[in-house]
Structures are given as C-alpha cells and as structure tokens.
C-alpha cells in the first residue's frame, strides 16, 4: 500500500528530494514522498557500508525501481552508524512509509552546522512547485 502525499514539519529537506531527522549529533536519512512516487515501486536498495564516511550533496547509495535508478543524495556529512535492513529486504517499505519504516540510514554528523543549509517544509514545497 503506497503512502499518501505528505511532508512532515519535523524534518529538514534537501532539494534532491531527501530528508533528515536530526537527533542530537545523529541524523536519520531517507527520501521524500515525491521521490518514491517519481520512481515507482522500489525493487532494490543499495546501501553504503557501515562505518563509511558520506558527504553532504554526494551520493551514498542507490534505490531502484523496475525502470529507474536514483542516487541517494546525502543532506548531511557524517559516518554511517546503521542501515535499515528492513528496506534492504523489502525495498517497497519506502513506498509504504517513506518517513517512518522506510528510513534508509542513520549517521553521526561530522558538520552539524550543515543543517543550516537545509530546507524546511515550506522551502521544500517551493522546490516541488518549481519542478511542476
């Protein structure tokens, strides 16, 4: 069952359709409803290695549907602490619950100030409007 469109207030957004939920010096990352809708049902998630260093605005992995591949663009820099095995095993979890069970990785931020460069819900809504 695909989720209906939403963009929670408590998240920060990146214009490449990724989100971050910050908790102390850690953050959980995922893709937005818009991203999963554009891709269609996901069939594969290629996560980064545990412990890998990832950089803001750079690709840390890939998600695939039948007809498309999308780089996962990190909104923040940091070290990968955890990978969501549930999405590895059942990639459609992202379609069903992009902000909850469909999270992708948890990181320890290396430059917490980067959050200042991310968008709030209203800012991301303007990005979506521009793309439409």
């Amino acid at each position: 069952m695909t989720a209906s469109e939403s963009y929670p207030d408590d998240l920060l957004y990146h214009a490449e359709h990724d989100w971050a939920r910050i908790d102390g010096d850690e953050a959980v990352l995922g893709v937005t409803w818009y991203a999963q809708d554009a891709l269609g049902e996901l069939v594969h998630y290629e996560p980064p290695a545990l412990g890998a260093t990832i950089g803001k605005d750079a690709s840390y992995g890939e998600v695939e549907s039948v007809k498309a591949v999308s780089d996962l663009i990190s909104p923040l820099s940091g070290e990968v602490l955890e990978i969501n095995q549930k999405v590895v095993d059942a990639p459609e979890t992202v379609n069903e619950d992009p902000y909850g069970d469909g999270w992708l990785i948890r990181i320890r931020m290396s430059s917490p100030d980067e959050r200042e460069q991310l968008l709030d819900r209203a800012g991301y809504a303007r990005v979506l409007e521009a793309e439409a």
Binding site: H44, E64, S65, V66, K67, A68, V69
Partner: protein
C-alpha cells in the same frame, strides 16, 4: 524496387497529406552545404537472380572442400537440421529485443531455457542472454571483476586463446585495468605461479581445455585465484561439458566462452555467441540482457527482461556495459542443439571427439610426428611437431585436400614447427588416416 510498396499515386497522396509538393522538400532542414548532390557511386542494382549468381560466384572462390582439422577456437562440429529450421522461423528471425513481453513470450521463454542450459552446463546460478563472442565476454568478465573487487589488475594465462587475450588487452586501458599474463610450462599452467600473480588481482582467467587442447589442473588454478581473493573465471567449451567438470563445481566465480561449438556454422568467424554465467553474488553486475520469470495479471507464468537497471538505457554512463544488440539468435541455435543432444548426447559428443583425437594423436606419433606437449591429457585438439615449418607442412597437406591445423608459431614464438590439430565428431577414421599420410 521490389522491397518497396509505394505507388506513384500513394506518394502523391502522402505528400498532399503532409502538405508539401515533392520528396525533395522532406529534406529541407538539411543545410545545403552537407547535402549530397550526386548519385551514390555504387554498382547498379541487381535482381534476385543476378544477386544469387554474384554471391554464388564469390562463395565459389572460397575453399571449403579440404578436410578440416583446423580449430583454435572455432570448430567444424555438425549443426543439426532442426537448428536451421527453427532459426528460419520468421517470428524469431525478424523480431528484436523483447521490450514488450506480451508480444515476445516465445523468445523470452527460449532465452530463459537458454540461461538454464548454460547454468546447468557451467554449474552457475545466472547467465546473461549472450555476449558477442568468446573474446568479448572475457572483457565483460574483467569489467564485472573490477567493480566487484575494486581491484585494477587481471591475470590471464598464456595458454588462453590469443585472440581472447588480445581483446582483453584492447579493452583493459579504458577500464583502468592492468593485464598480467602467466606463461605456460610445457603446455599447462602452474597453479603456484597463478597464486603469485593473482595477488591483488580482480580476476584470473584461464581456459579449460586450454588453447593447446590440454586439460589444465583447473580446480587448482581456481583455488590459486581464490587464495588471493581474485575471481577465478574459466573460459570453457560447451561441447566439453558433458565429460569435463562444470567450473561452478570447482570454485569458479564465473564461466565464459565461445558458443559456436554448440549450434553455429563456422561462417568465417561469425556471427556466433559468447556465453557468460556467474554465481548469484554477481547478478547485479552482469552485462547484457537477463530474462526472469514472473506472472501476468491473471496469475499465469510468463517471462520478462529483468534487472534492466543494470543496463545502458537506464543507467547510462554508470551501466554495467554498453551492450544492446547481442547474439540472441545464435544463442537460440545453441539451445536447440543442446536440447537435441540432451545429457547423453552431449557426453557422447565429447567422447567421440576424444576418441577420434586420441586416435589421430597416436597415429601421428607412430608416423614420427611427436606431440609438442607429451603426456598431457587432451580433449579434441592437440599440438604436434611437424618436423619443419608448420606452414610448409600445412601447405603440403592442403595439396592433398587436407587442412591439417593451425600453425602455433603465429602466436607462440619457438613453436614454429608445431601444428594445432582439431578433431570433431564430423571426422572419420579414414580422414584421419589421410591426415597422417599428408603430414608424414
């Protein structure tokens, strides 16, 4: 022109619908500076009768009536009549890649069956729907290995087909790969030297039976590669796999090869098919088409192209390969041939080749033509000393209607008197006796 249907009236009506007055006007977007103003300077058109005559004349200038003991990668095996009949079915012959599965269940199921046959023969989990030939699949395998291991060196044994090595070397710089060759010693490859060379390598490619027709200690070569965490890749002959062990059963990561032996005419070098199979770990890194099973909206079984996100039309510069058009029809020929043979026929085919080759080797030795690599087990091909320049020996035999083999000196300095002799199930004892006489 008999391949065109439009009448003058058709053309007039179509131009009117388009809203222009001449065919010339269709090309108005082409800048005058790059328009070709002349008639093409090519020979006049031929009718079908004339065309048949012209091509028959060209074909007659080739010599195909000498008894063929030439192999070196392409073999004079028998192609059953059913193969030709199936390939001439227009629904297979004149279709393209099954992008629309509902229109293409026939070829999709056939490819699925082909993938199964290749996996069964090689002991692997997944096969693609074909590469261009036995050389390019080796380059493909290097690309897979580089990305799977993150290493930038590949090892190829010198006893691997020289054309395979040349193609790997041609592709390697673009891949950022260094190619290291391990020399043979007396016709086979020393596993210890492979182990040393494989240090830090992405893959080790070896051929079984090797280019000299000799059986390598394949399990030990695979183990040597695995010791260095390099992917062992066996280049094998499908026709041998009824009697020789499957590479998947002795530790190989991938199995590749030239498919011509199963189902294809020699045809002066093509078109043939290259097969490429791997353990399931590598499925997302494989090049080319892969067919998968699924169900339709009614729940009935059907087949589709799958894991297409690997491919160039989706992943573009990050694709696992640029391959698009492949060799499906030739692979289908392979499937038909293998289906006719069955396990027993494939085994007998291998045994007959071995029996005839063994007979030839013995008779030649008795006539004074010693094996180049004595005491080595061989399959359907072997090297003999001719006692003179091998090209001279070849010429002398050809004068007696025998094409005696391949002069190894072309690729291996120091083996100038050696001839590589291939014996398929099409050869007879009488023909082998003539070979012996012609070379003596």
């Amino acid at each position: 022109m008999s391949y065109l249907s439009l009448t003058d009236a058709d053309r007039e009506a179509m131009l009117a619908t388009i809203g222009i007055s001449s065919v010339e006007e269709l090309f108005r977007d082409i800048p005058p500076g790059v328009r070709y103003a002349r008639e093409l300077d090519v020979a006049p058109a031929l009718t079908e009768v004339e065309l048949q005559r012209h091509l028959e004349e060209l074909a007659s200038k080739n010599t195909v009536d000498e008894v063929c003991f030439l192999g070196a990668g392409i073999y004079d095996h028998y192609v059953p009549a059913v193969v030709d009949a199936v390939l001439q079915r227009g629904e297979f012959l004149t279709a393209y890649t099954p992008y629309q599965p509902e229109m293409s269940q026939g070829v999709l199921q056939a490819i699925f069956e082909y993938q199964t046959a290749i996996c069964e023969l090689t002991g692997m989990d997944v096969s693609n729907a074909s590469g261009y030939d036995g050389t390019t699949v080796a380059a493909d395998a290097c690309f897979v290995a580089k990305h799977a291991t993150g290493r930038s060196k590949v090892v190829v044994t010198e006893a691997t087909n020289p054309q395979v090595r040349q193609v790997v070397k041609t592709y390697a710089p673009g891949f950022g790969l260094e190619v290291v060759e391990v020399p043979h010693e007396g016709g086979t490859t020393d596993p210890d030297r492979v182990r040393d060379a494989a240090e830090g390598a992405a893959a080790v490619i070896f051929q079984q039976p090797n280019f000299f027709g000799i059986l390598e200690h394949a399990p030990e070569l695979a183990a040597a590669a695995n010791d260095a965490e390099a992917m062992p890749i066996a280049h094998v002959d499908l026709v041998s796999l009824g009697v020789l062990e499957a590479p998947g059963n002795y530790g190989c990561a991938m199995a590749i090869g030239e498919g011509q032996s199963a189902g294809n005419a020699m045809s002066y070098g093509g078109p043939h098919y290259g097969f490429l199979a791997a353990r399931s770990d590598y499925i997302r890194r494989l090049p080319g088409r892969i067919v998968g099973e699924t169900v339709d909206a009614a729940g009935d079984r059907g087949y589709v192209l799958t894991l297409q996100t690997r491919e160039q039309h989706i992943r573009r510069e990050k694709a696992t390969s640029n391959i698009t058009t492949n060799q499906t029809l030739l692979a289908l020929a392979g499937l038909v041939h293998l289906s006719l043979l069955g396990p027993q026929g494939l085994r007998e085919l291998g045994e007959t080749c071995m029996a005839l080759a063994g007979y030839a080797q013995g008779r030649l030795a008795a006539a004074g033509l010693e094996p180049v690599f004595p005491e080595k087990a061989t399959f359907k091909e072997f090297a003999v000393h001719t006692g003179r320049n091998a090209r001279e020996a070849l010429g002398a035999a050809r004068a007696q209607g025998i094409y005696a083999g391949y002069p190894l000196g072309r690729d291996y300095p120091g083996l100038d008197d050696a001839l590589l002799v291939a014996v398929t199930e099409k050869r007879t004892v009488e023909e082998i006796d003539r070979l012996v006489e012609a070379l003596s």
